[in-house]
C-alpha cells in the first residue's frame, strides 16, 4: 500500500508504521493552539477497510484530528501515517459553484477516464442525469451526495468524513446513512467518521473512539449484526454506554444534559 508520512517532526524509523498492516497509524500526536492543548499525545491505528467513528463533545478536538489526517494541518506534532490516496467529505458540500456537477466530481482528476469514472461515481450516489447541473440548483442532500461522489472517484484507501451529515435534515440524514453504508461495503476504504451523533456512530462504525480532553478515553468495538436497528436492545446499550462516556445521562430527570464540572 502506498503511504505518505505527514509528520515533519523527528521520525523514529524510516519504515512507515503502515508496513505493520495499518491504513492509518497515529503515534504521539500533539496539537496546541496558543496556550490551549487540544490533542495531548494521541495514539491510534485504523486497519484497512475498518470504519472508525470518532465521537466527542464539541471542542474535544475531533475535527483537529481529522484535519491532521487529511494533511490540512502541518502544525501537529508526532507521527501520522496515512495512505496517499485519501478523500475528505466536509460538513458543507463545498462544491465549486462555477463548475458543473461532473466537473466538481472530477476536480483534480486528469486523464481520459476521469469523465467515465466521474459519471460512474455520480451513478453510485444516485445522481445520474445531474452531471450538467449547477451546484446551486441542488438540494442540500443532493449536494452532499455530489461531495461523496467526488470523494469516491479518487478510489480512496482512507475516507475522512467530517460530520458530513450534520447540516442535513433528519430524513435526508437517514438516507445518507444507508448510502454511505452501502458505498463502504462496496469499496472498503478505511473510514474515519467524525461526529457528535452517537446514534450515527453506532449505526455505521465497526469501532467507536471517544475523544475526551485531547485523548481517546474509550475504544469500543461495535459487534452488531447488519442491518442495525436503532430499537435493538444491544444498540441501545452501546448508545447509553457512549453517551455516559460523553457525560450525558439520558435517564436523568427531565432528560437534560449533565455537564460534569471539570
Amino acid at each position: 500500500m502506498a503511504t505518505g508520512t505527514l509528520s515533519a517532526g523527528p521520525t523514529t524509523s524510516d519504515v512507515p508504521v503502515n508496513d505493520r498492516g495499518h491504513a492509518v497509524a497515529v503515534a504521539g500526536m500533539r496539537r496546541t493552539f496558543g496556550d490551549r492543548r487540544v490533542i495531548t499525545g494521541l495514539d491510534f491505528e485504523i486497519a484497512p477497510g475498518q470504519f472508525v467513528a470518532l465521537v466527542g463533545r464539541s471542542g474535544s478536538g475531533k475535527s483537529t484530528v481529522l484535519r491532521a489526517l487529511a494533511g490540512l494541518d502541518a502544525g501537529a506534532e508526532g507521527e501520522i501515517v496515512v495512505p496517499e490516496r485519501r478523500s475528505v467529505v466536509f460538513q458543507d458540500p463545498r462544491l465549486l459553484p462555477w463548475a458543473r456537477v461532473l466537473d466538481n466530481v472530477t476536480l483534480g482528476q486528469g486523464g481520459k477516464e476521469a469523465t467515465a469514472r466521474g459519471l460512474e461515481a455520480l451513478g453510485e450516489v444516485g445522481l445520474e442525469g445531474h452531471e450538467r447541473d449547477w451546484p446551486k440548483t441542488l438540494s442540500g442532500g443532493e449536494a452532499q451526495r455530489v461531495a461523496l461522489a467526488r470523494a469516491l472517484v479518487r478510489q480512496p484507501e482512507l475516507l475522512l468524513l467530517d460530520e458530513p451529515f450534520g447540516a442535513l435534515d433528519a430524513l435526508t440524514r437517514i438516507k445518507m446513512h444507508a448510502l454511505v453504508e452501502q458505498l463502504c461495503a462496496r469499496h472498503h476504504p478505511a473510514v474515519l467518521l467524525v461526529t457528535h451523533d452517537v446514534d450515527e456512530a453506532v449505526l455505521l462504525a465497526d469501532r467507536v473512539l471517544v475523544l475526551t480532553d485531547g485523548n481517546v478515553s474509550l475504544d469500543l468495538d461495535v459487534r452488531l449484526a447488519n442491518p442495525r436497528q436503532r430499537g435493538d436492545p444491544e444498540f441501545i446499550e452501546l448508545r447509553t454506554l457512549l453517551l455516559s462516556e460523553l457525560g450525558v445521562d439520558e435517564t436523568a430527570e427531565g432528560r437534560h444534559e449533565e455537564h460534569p464540572s471539570p
Partner: protein
C-alpha cells in the same frame, strides 16, 4: 366547528380529551376568491409604455417651451431641431467620423487598462510577495485624482493620442485592480482547503478556483471602468483635441450651436448605455452559474 373529511386518520396514542380553550376577541373572515372568479387586477398599460409616458411628457414640454420662445435657441435648441441637426451630422459624416475617433480612444484605453488592472490584481492576489510589491503602491496612487494627472501626462507625452489614451488606461486600471484584488482575497478559504485535499497543482488552482472565483468582482470592476473610460474621454477631448466628439462639442460652443452640443451629449449617453449593456450581457453569459440571472 366543521369536521374535516380526512381520508385516513390514524392515532397511535389515544389522548384523553382536555377542554379546548376558547378564542378571546372576535374572529374575522379573510377575503378569498369564489370558485371560478378571476383574480382581481387593476387595469394597467404595459410597463414599458407606462414608463415612457414621463419621458414623452418631458420632451413635449421642452419642445413647446422652445416653440413658444421661452427658451432661446442659443441656450437650448428644441428637440425637433436637435433631431434634424443629428440627422444632418450623421449624413455629412461629421458625427460618425468623430464617433469612430472617440470609440477608438476608449477601446484602446479599455484594451490596455483592463488587462493591466486584472494582471496586477493577480500578481498581488496570488502571493504575499506580490501583495507587498504591488498593493501598497497602488493603494497610494489610488487617491491621486486621475484628471489632475493631465498636465503631467501632457508634459511627458505631448498632446497627441498617447496622452489621452494613457489617462483612460490609468482611470480604467484602478477600478479593475481594486475589485479583482478584493475578489481574489475574499474567495472562500474552504475552496483552497478543497484544492489541497484533491491535490490541485498551482496552475490548476488558479484556473479552477482563483480565476472563476474572482470573475464576479472583476466584472464589477470592468463595469465601473467603462463608465470611467467615457468620463475621462469627454474630459481629455475637451482639453485639447482636434478630433472626436469632445472636439465637436467645444467647436459648437464657440459658434453658439446648442443643438450640436445636445447631439454630442446624447451620443455620449447612448455610448455609455451601449457599453453598459454589453458588460451586463457579458456578466449574464459568464456568471450563468449564479441563480436568478
Amino acid at each position: 366547528m366543521t369536521t374535516l373529511d380526512n381520508p385516513r386518520t390514524t392515532s397511535v396514542v389515544q389522548a384523553t380529551p382536555s377542554p379546548l380553550p376558547r378564542v378571546r376577541g372576535g374572529l374575522v373572515r379573510l377575503p378569498t376568491r369564489q370558485p371560478g372568479e378571476p383574480e382581481r387586477s387593476r387595469f394597467r398599460l404595459p410597463v414599458g409604455v407606462e414608463r415612457l409616458l414621463g419621458v414623452v411628457l418631458f420632451f413635449a414640454i421642452w419642445e413647446i417651451a422652445a416653440e413658444v420662445g421661452w427658451i432661446r435657441p442659443q441656450i437650448l435648441a428644441a428637440p425637433s431641431v436637435v433631431l434634424t441637426t443629428g440627422v444632418d451630422l450623421i449624413r455629412s459624416g461629421t458625427l460618425t467620423g468623430a464617433l469612430w475617433v472617440s470609440l477608438q480612444r476608449v477601446l484602446w484605453g479599455l484594451g490596455i487598462g483592463i488587462p493591466l488592472g486584472g494582471g496586477l490584481a493577480l500578481i498581488a492576489g496570488l502571493s504575499r510577495a506580490g501583495e507587498n510589491l504591488v498593493d501598497g503602491n497602488i493603494q497610494m496612487l489610488r487617491f491621486v485624482p486621475i484628471i489632475g494627472l493631465e498636465p503631467l501626462l501632457i508634459l511627458w507625452l505631448g498632446i497627441g493620442e498617447t496622452a489621452k489614451i494613457s489617462m483612460i488606461v490609468l482611470g480604467v486600471a484602478f477600478p479593475v485592480y481594486v475589485n479583482t484584488f478584493s475578489a481574489i482575497r475574499s474567495i472562500d478559504p474552504g475552496y483552497h482547503e478543497l484544492a489541497d485535499v484533491v491535490g490541485l497543482s498551482t496552475s490548476a488552482r488558479i484556473r479552477r478556483i482563483v480565476l472563476p472565483g474572482a470573475l464576479p468582482g472583476f466584472l464589477v470592476g470592468v463595469q465601473m471602468a467603462t463608465a470611467v473610460a467615457w468620463l475621462l474621454l469627454v474630459f481629455a477631448e475637451q482639453i485639447n483635441a482636434t478630433s472626436g466628439i469632445g472636439y465637436l462639442m467645444v467647436r459648437a460652443q464657440t459658434f453658439f450651436q446648442s443643438d450640436v452640443i445636445v447631439v454630442c451629449l446624447i451620443t455620449y449617453a447612448l455610448l455609455g448605455l451601449i457599453s453598459y449593456a454589453i458588460v451586463r450581457q457579458l456578466e449574464r453569459r459568464l456568471l450563468s452559474w449564479r441563480p436568478g440571472r
